[in-house]
């Protein structure tokens, strides 16, 4: 079906985007890849009077290595992240996620900025960014500000973005030498979202866990850190028993709901299994055993 009618803008600069967003507060929305917003418009779940496309703005798609981390432009498409050697080497957890996100054709259009700003708790990149401790650059009428990934996701489909603001860049800091992460996603077929998924990023000191950041996808109203489970890991040698306890805590503290993807209990069982798997994979990538 056709989307409902809307006025379309395709400015060539970010300042113009902000001007249009500010002129129609709440009524104007950004169009990035459109892989979330167009299905919503087409199914007439939403109606948006003013769409501001970012497609004519140059220089918003990049993945560059800095001294302390990697900068990613918000219009970078998922498949460019998937195919980036830098991302695969430095942040395999993000490579895991982009490789399994939607399907290859959707990944050729969908952007990192759209995936994060949409704040669907079933989207994969929020949990990954939270576990990596990423920071987002946001620009609006009042200027530029930085927001930590963990403070960005407020609720289902709700972020810290004001109506006149645009997410311009994602910054992922490098972790220490003995660090590694993994994203394990359980899905029924390619084009479906996750039944459940978990992001685990660890730093080790020998076999002891120095730092742990865990976040989940699709099992709570918003993606967020599971600090109660991280506590089971930090400061301890990562034995099977410790890993099992942390995985059980992830499952216990989640808030899955019964839907067409499965029952609440089923999702908790899946979570236990995939969390164990993600922790073990993260340990091996961090150089532990």
């Amino acid at each position: 079906m056709n989307p409902p009618t809307f006025e379309y803008f395709a400015p060539t600069g970010i300042d113009e985007v902000i001007d249009i967003l500010a002129k129609y507060p709440g009524e104007a929305k950004i169009l990035a890849g459109g892989q979330s917003i167009l299905p919503l418009l087409k199914s007439r779940i939403s109606s948006i009077p003013y769409l501001v496309s970012l497609s004519e703005i140059k220089g918003m798609s990049y993945v560059v290595e800095g001294k302390d981390g990697v900068k990613i432009g918000s219009m970078t498409i998922d498949s460019d992240l998937e195919n980036s050697d830098l991302i695969e080497k430095r942040f395999p957890i993000l490579h895991d996620a982009t490789k399994q996100l939607a399907d290859p054709l959707v990944r050729n259009v969908g952007t990192i900025g759209g995936n994060l700003s949409h704040a669907d708790p079933a989207n994969d990149l929020p949990a990954v960014m939270i576990s990596l401790g990423a920071r987002f650059t946001i620009r609006g009428k009042k200027g530029s500000r930085e927001v930590e990934a963990r403070d960005f996701f407020m609720d289902t489909f709700t972020t810290a973005l004001e109506p006149d603001e645009i997410l311009t860049e994602v910054y992922i800091p490098f972790w220490g030498r003995n660090s590694g992460g993994a994203y394990v996603k359980f899905k029924k077929n390619t084009w479906n979202f996750s039944v459940a998924a978990v992001a685990v990023q660890l730093e080790l000191d020998g076999n002891t866990c120095k730092k742990a950041q865990i976040a989940t996808t699709a099992v709570s109203p918003k993606s967020g850190r599971v600090e109660s489970a991280e506590k089971h890991l930090v400061g301890k040698p990562l034995t099977d028993d410790v890993i099992k306890k942390a995985a059980e805590e992830v499952a216990a503290s989640a808030e899955p709901v019964t839907d067409s993807y499965g029952s609440e209990e089923y999702k908790r069982e899946i979570l236990k299994r995939i969390t164990r798997e993600a922790i073990k994979k993260a340990i091996s990538r961090a150089g532990g055993n």
Binding site: N2, F6, E7, Y8, G34, L38, P39, K42, L105, V109
Partner: protein
Amino acid sequence: MVNKKHISITINGEVKEAEVEPRMLLAHFLRDQAGLTGTHIGCDTTNCGACTVIMDGKAVKSCTILAVQANGRKVLTIEGLSKGREKLHPVQQSFVDKHGLQCGYCTSGMILTSYWLLKNKKNVTEEEIREAISGNLCRCTGYDNIIDSVKDASKKMEEEGDPIEEQPEIKVRA
């Protein structure tokens, strides 16, 4: 009444210019305005890939892209694969030779996704093929013949090359 937008899209080497409503989907523009009905619409919900076209070198679902988003870009549809030549494109020929289709509804999308894969990877494995076409659904073949077709096309593309590269750009008005 919303303002129409002027767009210019290079489709299969020809520049098409038109005034369109911003909400017009690329799939509808290709079928209804450019008359290229080889691009199919199956699910209309971004799941099936029947509407797949190549935009600026990447396989995308044209039911989930606005025609205005394609402004200034190059689009290749199934019609473009063997346009102006007597022979079918190697990927099309492989689908014929290896029985990669039955009803044909998914076929233009399957062929274009396969073409995109083969332009990017040589000596593709079965796993790479299955992954690449995972956003394209086929209700008839059970996929095995499609896999065989793409493997065959991989060989043909190696041997014969890609005839599309030397496309001239012709300017016409829609």
